[in-house]
Amino acid sequence: MFRRLMIIILSFGCMQSCTHKSNIIRIGVAGPMTGDQSVFGRDERRGAELAVQEWNRSGGVLGKKIEAVVEDDQHDPRQAVAVANRLVSDGVVGVIGHFNSNCSIPASAVYHRAGIPMISHGSTNPQLTEQGFNDVFRVCGRDDQQGKVAADFVCRDLKLSRIAIIQDRTTYGQGLADEFRSHLSSTCRTVYDGSIIQGDKDFRAVLTDVKSKKPDLIYYGGVFPEAGLLVKQARQLGIHAVFMSGDGIMGPEFVNIAGSAADGVYATFGPDIGSVPAARPFIESYRKLYGEPGPYSIYAYVAMNILLDAIKGAQTTVPGKLVSYLHAHTFDTALGAIRFDSKGDVAHSPYVIWQVRDRHFVQR
């Protein structure tokens, strides 16, 4: 009796998931949806969902509706692995994300084991695409490119010589700081090399130490919540050195936290999308729905579009075929044409220098 009951229950379970599968195509969207970096998660979700809405309005893909399954990794690697496993068992056909490199790298192993393609919109640590996983892609740049652009700018254009490097000991922050240091030319000297803890709010102890080394420039490898406080407290301590960081500080939140101390701060990031003609329709529809796009909104939008284009082009959601389609084709996106190299990176280096002027990031 019990066994018969189990069979009925199990077959009912299968029936349900089978009908579930046939109606909609589910795509995972994973990033820091809560916590101090939740603006990045919010931008990612909005970008990806905008793409899904547009596709659904024109009939979906393969005759099915698309559903974005949003998961929160809280920029915590342990959470990211749990989220990745949940997405895999949820039957997603691909994943957009994660955002933070320390999440993307461990999560990519889970997706790779399941054979699901993953397109990160914002993880810049080189390691992500150096693991030999053919199903891992990214639409943003890499920190070896970013670190070089920053180092060249500091040594060649600004001609500064005494460099202090601070990083937040995350995969992204430490990686970016290492790339920056390794690309410094012989005219630049590292006078301070230290780290802070992500989530901390008081950096005066480290900064007092930095001050005694009299640097011309402080380079920070990390993300805006700490970067904003760091530059604010540096100015309060009377440190007048130039402050520079990477794509992790882009967006209005950094300026909100740092206040007037943000003015003059440099960052490396992709080119201003306001000057990219292909991005114009995206900016308009995004503004209508959510307001001003964040720095990584368009990258999430583009990643989702590429995945859906690939499903449409390959006429299947079978992972192996999807992955080979992604490798073999050039995609026409809001950021221009994108083609992945054999590692899954975009071919060219997108980084340019930005600076905060009158409380806004502007491209130099």
Partner: protein, 301 residues
């Protein structure tokens, strides 16, 4: 030398904040022997209270120009009031019904309250960082002989010491304060001399929470950002400070807070900034090995 003085100033600032929060821990422990793990979250609620009041004032009328000092006082008052209200309610709803239950149930309830408050604020106020109202006066910066001190640091010193002095006077000089002290020595016997223990316990929570709320607002002004999870680490630190000074001892909590702030700042400067948090706990463990009841704690029977 200049660096040392700077680090001491930095350390004393965070230390005063720890001391303010630690007082609430130690007062509550003194009277009902509960480690109130929700206390850190009361501090967080206080920070939000100050922010909400100042934002409301700011939007209500732009003509209503609060001077720097006025805004500071309004923020502090609002933060202290809201934190006190939360502390009062938490004691009444969560702890009082368990007064006769085992200590473990009370402790687990405290953890539950802490989680509840965090998630409650996260849902109500959003998960991301909130930028605190910036008061021009507080951002003023004095650099004397290469050592920098900001107005917000000075305000934190003054406010913390004024509040602590007021508390000390209240406890030692007023009738209610003395009743509190008596209740902490023997909560049952004091009822014989006509002291209402329930009222005294409520009052302890209200005062302790108001102090934490004040600390929350001061920290909001100092760092400029708050979020729903700031209570966790601050609570841990303040708890450490209270144990360091000898839990249950009010003077001990003040000294413990300042010592902890200094240890962190100097440890980060001269040993390793990455192990700043661990360093404070290592010192705590070492101290407890030598003096199990903390710096000023008396061994209770």
């Amino acid at each position: 030398m200049r660096i040392l003085i700077q680090q001491i100033i930095n350390g004393l600032t965070t230390g005063s904040v720890y001391a303010l929060i630690a007082l609430g821990y130690t007062m509550v422990y003194g009277i009902i022997e509960l480690i109130n793990f929700a206390h850190g979250d009361i501090y967080m609620v206080g920070a939000y209270g100050g922010l909400i009041a100042l934002t409301l004032l700011g939007t209500m009328s732009t003509a209503l120009h609060l001077s720097g000092m006025g805004a500071l006082l309004v923020g502090l008052m609002a933060g202290m009031l809201l934190a006190a209200a939360y502390g009062f309610t938490v004691e009444k709803l969560a702890y009082r019904p368990l007064r006769k239950a085992s200590r473990l149930s009370l402790l687990i309830t405290a953890l539950g309250v802490s989680l509840f408050l965090e998630n409650f604020v996260m849902i109500g106020q959003g998960a991301s960082d909130k930028t605190y109202v910036s008061i021009g006066m507080l951002n003023r910066n004095f650099i004397v002989g290469g050592v920098s001190i900001t107005m917000s640091q000075i305000v934190i010193f003054i406010a913390a010491f004024a509040i602590m002095l007021g508390l000390d006077l209240f406890i030692n000089k007023t009738m209610t304060g003395r009743a509190m002290k008596a209740a902490s020595q023997d909560p049952v016997t004091v009822q014989l001399v006509g002291i209402n223990t329930d009222r005294i316990i409520s009052l302890t929570f209200v005062i302790g929470s108001a102090l934490a709320g004040a600390a929350g607002v001061l920290v909001g002004f100092y760092y400029g950002v708050i979020n729903f999870s700031i209570g966790y680490l601050a609570g841990m630190k303040a708890f450490t400070a209270a144990v360091l000074g000898g839990i249950g001892d009010i003077g001990g909590a003040m000294v413990g807070g300042l010592v902890l702030g200094l240890l962190e700042s100097l440890g980060a400067a001269y040993l390793s900034s990455e192990y700043k948090d661990a360093f404070a706990f290592i010192v705590l463990i070492l101290l407890l090995l030598i003096r199990p009841s903390g710096l000023f704690g008396s061994s209770r029977s």
